[in-house]
Structure formats: structure tokens, C-alpha cells
Symmetry: C2
Subunit: 307 residues, 2 copies
């Protein structure tokens, strides 16, 4: 196993790491685990069923982190991986996933990650995932993550899923089931530019009594890019759910936003809000009056919006 | 032409009239025009193309009203009619439509009204439509209105579409096109109960610069009823659009709400808000502390919500 500068740059961008982090780690490059390390409470193995990653967090684990970044540097490589995360009861853990693609060629590179996350009773999980693409070639950088989340009684998960830039084509599918008194929060931040296409399809079934779910999406579409955002919240019990999507539209970009509320129980309280618009003129003028150029003012506003 | 008590009751419920109103009028009963009267500025004829109603409002008409209610009293009758409304430039008019079905039998009765409304340049239209069903039979009362609206430059229309009660099955389709500086407002109020099913599908294409559209929906679903609300707002120019849906869910009823924002121009500003929930407990308690029974308190809240 040898890391090159390119690997390290990608890893820093998608997983905020400057070297091998402490704790449990699995680094996948071009379809192979090039580094794997378990910790006493977090065991990483190869799942015999699907050859994918199996991450098991022991009951009662507190304040630990597991890093499972993926990088693709071979152009024209198509990677598919199944990752399973089992977080046992009362554990508290942070999962840092993320995928970076460097593609300098004319062939497309893609990563399809199929994640299953099981949040045990009263366990608390923070899940961070960043997607990023770079490279000078015309070959596309494609990322299609599929995530299935099961939150058991009293468990909670906060998922932050970010597409930084450089991803040409993405279909993000997320489906979650939330049991009694469980809590799920999904925060999605997306930037598309050039000719990029991004589709995000989130469905949350709130099954248990007293459960709650929130889906928050912030996105910026620039140039000729296209975004489709679908978020369905299904209330099957006495529960609360909220969907919020805010988008900034620029240049010739297009955005479609289709939230869906399905109340199947009279005690379900479901709400949503959305706004699509351009950068507020007053904000631009204010920043420019402080001495920023128009481009600097735009960059500052977008950065604030996507943080 | 002879009106019976049943006719008069239905006409009062759906069109707020106690006899033949003044101005232009067309009353359709069981598929036939039983009363027709044009006014100097509003001409009602039979459209030779589709045998339907043609209502033409002359340019510059001010403050006039046209009543075009439909009633069905023959059980098992299936009525289909094409209504065309042409409002010439600078006219201001109120259109009172509406359909009432009385069905005492085991056979279904239905009315399919296909309306086309052309709002000329700088014309202003108020369109009111109430739907109501009654009768003791097991035969369903079915109402499927299809409405196409074209708002020309600087024109405006405010549409209030109400389903009072007693309609077993409805699919309401509305499509509107709004040109430069045109304005469209759709207010929909819907009550479903028993085993009723209601689907409302509204699509507004905001095509002209400086145009605006609003879709406001308030609905109550009781008993085992089911509602599906779809509202798509498409911004194709510098324009503003807003969708708002509020629903009260009771008993074993179910509601699905699917708004859709499509921004195809970076200067389109589109927003939506929705909330599905039960009657607020504090409101109930407050009214009951003033001496109302629980049922009276519920009725008062629902009445306020749907007004």
C-alpha cells in the first residue's frame, strides 16, 4: 500500500484527513481496500454475502469515529460496493464516508455505493458523506449512492450529504425507516455547474409512534446544470416530519423540486417549505458596497448558503 | 321549462341564487339548457364545434356577472359538456359556475365539465365554482372538471373552486398558461368524508415576463376519505409563483400532497409551503372552555378553516 499525492489530496477533500486517521479506518482505492484498521469497539471486515464492507459498532461505544472513504484515480474504472453499518444499542459513533474521483481521460469513471445503515435501539449516529470530482478529461465522473437506513426504537441519525463539485452525473437514492421514538435528520447540500445533472430521491417512512424526521436540502445550480429533487415523507403513525428545500438558480440552470407528504395517520403532522430563486440583489449590493467585486460577492453568498 | 323545489335547492347551494338571477344566465339540467338569457355585453350561444356552451364577454364590459350552473337530478345520468368562455380585452366579469348532483338511486351519476377560459389582454375575471352532491341512494355522485385557462398579456383571473360535500369521486384537472404581466390565483377548498376520493391536479405554466401565479389549497379529509393534491408551478420567464397547501386530517383519512416547482429560468422565483395535521388541541380546548361541545368546537374550527 502506497499513497500518492493525488490520493492524499482526494482523501483530504472528501474525508478531511491528512494522513491515516486514528480509530477504525477503511480506505478503498480503485475497487480495493488499500488500508484497513479496526478499533477495539469498531470491527471492520469483508461481508461474506456481498464482498462489501461490514462495519460493526459494539453496544455502548461512546464518542468514536470510523472513516471509510473511497477514491477513484484509474480513469474508466467502474466501482460498485456494498457497505453495511451495524450500530448496536446505546452506541454513539461518527461515520465519515465520502468519495472522490480523479479522471483525466475520455472514459467515464463511476462509483456506485450501496450503503445499509442499521441504527440500533437508542444508538446515535452522525454520518458525513462528501462527493467530489476532478480531472481534465472529458470522461464523466459519475456517483450513484444508494442508502438504506433503519432507525430502531429510540435511535437517531443525522446524515450530512454534500456534493462539493465536479460530479457530472449523480442519482442519489435514500430510503429510511424510522421506528418508535426514532429520529432521522437528512441534510443535503448540492452544487452543480457546467452540463452536470443531479437527481436526489429521498423517501422516509416514519413508522413508529413518537418518531420524527427532517429533510433539509440546500442547492445551487449554475451554468447549464439540471437538478431534480424529490423528497417523500410518509407518516404512518403519530409522528412529525418536515421537508425544507432552498435552491439558488443561476445562469441557464434548471431546478425541479417535488416534495411529497403522505399522511396515513390522522396523528401525523407533516410540513414542508421550499423556495427556488436567484441570489437576492440587496445581498449582492451590500457586499459590493463593502469593496468586494461582483464575483467575490457571489462566491461569498454561495459559500454561506451551502455551509 | 319548469323548476321544481329540488332544482331550486341545488341551484341555491351551488350558485347562491334563489330564482333566475339578472344578467346573462344559462342553467343546465340533466344535459339540457333549460334556461338561457344573454345580456347586451355577454352573449351565450351553443358552440357549433362541440355543442357546448359559448360565453362571449365583449371588450370593455364592466362589473357584470354570468351564471352558468349545472344540476343533475336524474339518477344514473352521465353528463359531459364543453364550456368556452372568451373574455375580450379590458372586460371585467364574474363567472359563477357550479354543479350540484342529487342522486337517490343505486346507479352512479356523473358530470364531466370541460371548461376553457380565455382571459383577454388586461381583462379581469373572477371565477367561482362550487361542487355538491346529495341523495340517499348508493349510486355515486361523480364530478370530473377539466379546466384550461389562458391568461393573455396583463390579464388576471382569480378562481375559487370549492367542493362543499357529498361528492364521492372527483378528479379535478386544471391547467393554466399565463402570459406577460398576467396574474392567476387559484383557491381550492375541499371537504371529503365517508369513503370519498378526491384528486386535484393543477399545473400552471408561467410563460410571460413579469407574470405571477398563486395556488392556495385548503382541505379537510374526514372518516375513510382519501385526497391526492398535485400542484405544479413552472416558471419559464422572470416571474413569481407560490403554492400553499394546508390540510386537516381526521379519523382514518389519508392525504398525499405533491407540489412541484420547476424553475426553467434563473429569474423565476418559486416558493411553496404545506402542512398536514390534525386540529390543534389548544384551539379545541379554548372553544370548549367557552361552552361549546367537542363536536361544535370541531365544526366551528373546520368552518373557519374552509372559508
Amino acid at each position: 500500500m502506497k499513497f500518492e499525492q493525488l490520493d492524499m489530496d482526494l482523501l483530504q477533500t472528501v474525508a478531511d484527513i491528512k494522513g491515516i486517521p486514528s480509530g477504525a479506518v477503511n480506505i478503498r482505492r480503485n475497487g480495493e481496500a488499500i488500508f484497513r484498521h479496526s478499533s477495539p469497539n469498531i470491527i471492520i471486515t469483508t461481508n461474506p454475502e456481498n464482498k462489501g464492507l461490514m462495519v460493526e459498532v459494539k453496544a455502548g461505544t461512546k464518542g468514536e469515529t470510523v472513516h471509510v472513504p473511497v477514491i477513484l484515480t484509474n480513469s474508466g474504472f467502474h466501482d460498485r460496493v456494498y457497505n453495511t453499518f451495524k450500530i448496536a444499542e446505546d452506541a454513539e459513533v461518527t461515520i465519515i464516508a465520502g468519495c472522490g474521483i480523479h479522471n483525466d481521460s475520455h472514459s467515464d469513471s463511476s462509483h456506485n455505493g450501496i450503503h445499509e445503515i442499521i441504527v440500533g435501539p437508542r444508538a446515535h449516529v452522525k454520518y458525513l458523506e462528501k462527493h467530489y470530482g476532478e480531472g481534465r478529461g472529458e470522461g464523466k465522473r459519475i456517483l450513484n449512492p444508494t442508502t438504506v437506513v433503519r432507525v430502531e426504537d429510540g435511535g437517531s441519525i443525522e446524515m450530512e450529504m454534500v456534493q462539493i463539485k465536479g460530479v457530472d452525473d449523480t442519482i442519489r437514492s435514500t430510503i429510511a425507516y424510522v421506528q418508535e421514538k426514532g429520529n432521522l435528520k437528512v441534510v443535503e447540500r448540492l452544487l452543480t455547474h457546467g452540463q452536470q445533472k443531479a437527481e436526489s430521491d429521498i423517501r422516509v417512512e416514519i413508522e413508529g409512534q413518537g418518531a420524527a424526521a427532517q429533510i433539509l436540502s440546500r442547492s445551487v445550480a449554475q451554468d447549464d446544470s439540471y437538478q431534480l429533487f424529490k423528497a417523500a415523507l410518509v407518516g404512518k403513525n403519530e409522528c412529525t416530519g418536515h421537508v425544507e428545500c432552498d435552491a439558488i438558480l443561476m445562469d441557464k440552470a434548471q431546478i425541479r423540486s417535488i416534495p411529497q407528504l403522505e399522511a396515513e395517520d390522522a396523528n401525523a403532522v407533516l410540513t414542508h417549505e421550499a423556495a427556488i430563486g436567484k441570489i437576492a440583489g440587496e445581498q449582492l449590493i451590500k457586499l459590493m458596497s463593502l469593496g468586494l467585486s461582483e464575483q467575490e460577492a457571489i462566491d461569498t453568498i454561495l459559500e454561506g448558503f451551502l455551509r
